[in-house]
């Protein structure tokens, strides 16, 4: 070993503590974080469910009826209730983070986070109402 070891700026790379695979069960806040991240799986499931609906509707009346029967299957219903809980969690946590992620300025003044939060919920309500009105016609 040489006496004149040159130390670079990368010590952090040498130290890699081992973390348990179940680290997220240790604290409630960790678990909430992981559940929030897992909400994305249910967003992906919804895309699949939506495409099944689109395919059924464009294939004709009989296929549409089969889709309605499929969605009334108890397993499917249970899956969608769980998925709904997760996507609601996604919406609430996403809106809560929005004011921290973006700064909106109006006439040179920063719009307070609370106003962005309220506007997000209003937009959510408006969009949902328009969709229900268009679909149920």
């Amino acid at each position: 070993m040489s006496e004149n070891v040159e130390y670079g700026g990368y010590y952090a790379r040498w130290h890699r503590p081992r973390v348990s695979r179940l680290w997220w069960l240790r604290r409630r806040s960790y678990l909430v974080f992981v559940l929030r991240e897992l909400s994305c799986v249910f967003v992906a499931w919804f895309v699949v469910f939506l495409l099944l609906l689109v395919h059924a509707v464009s294939s004709g009346e009989r296929e549409y009826q089969r889709f309605l029967d499929l969605s009334a299957n108890p397993w499917m219903l249970a899956l969608n209730v769980v998925a709904l809980c997760f996507v609601l969690f996604h919406t609430i946590t996403w809106f809560a983070l929005t004011p921290q992620a973006i700064v909106v300025r109006l006439r040179g003044r920063r719009v307070p986070g609370r106003a962005i939060l309220v506007l997000s919920y209003l937009a959510w309500a408006a969009v949902s109402a328009v969709m229900a009105w268009v679909i149920l016609g």
Partner: protein
């Protein structure tokens, strides 16, 4: 620019897709899932008839919104799920494989969605 962003110039773009997907799914998915996944199957409201739903689906605005929802929603999943696998299960060493599975899945799903929405013409 940070060191990671400089090494992987696509990263900010993927983050933007994740973010846009987060917004559009937050706004649209709960309402649609409540309606088609819970309210209609339980019979709380009579399902819309096929002709009406087909007319709604054939409208270009509907198809554009649904395409955006599918594509951005899938990329939202891909980005978030990638990090969940890295951090949650400590799988950082299978980086390439996880990236391929997540973003590859999102790309394939996006093409599938575009095909199915065009079929509704």
């Amino acid at each position: 620019m940070s060191a990671t962003a400089a090494k992987r110039p696509i990263e900010p773009f993927l983050w933007a897709l994740f973010s846009a997907g987060g917004v559009i799914s937050a706004l649209l998915v709960p309402g649609l899932l409540l309606l088609f996944g819970v309210v209609l199957p339980l019979g709380w409201v009579d399902p819309p008839d096929h002709a009406h739903l087909l007319a709604v689906l054939r409208h270009p605005v509907t198809r554009l919104v649904l395409l955006a929802l599918c594509v951005l929603g899938l990329f939202h999943w891909a980005h978030r799920f990638r990090y969940t696998l890295y951090d949650g299960l400590q799988l950082e060493r299978h980086k390439e494989l996880i990236g391929l599975f997540c973003y590859g899945g999102a790309v394939v799903g996006s093409f599938l969605a575009a095909g199915l929405l065009l079929q509704a013409m």
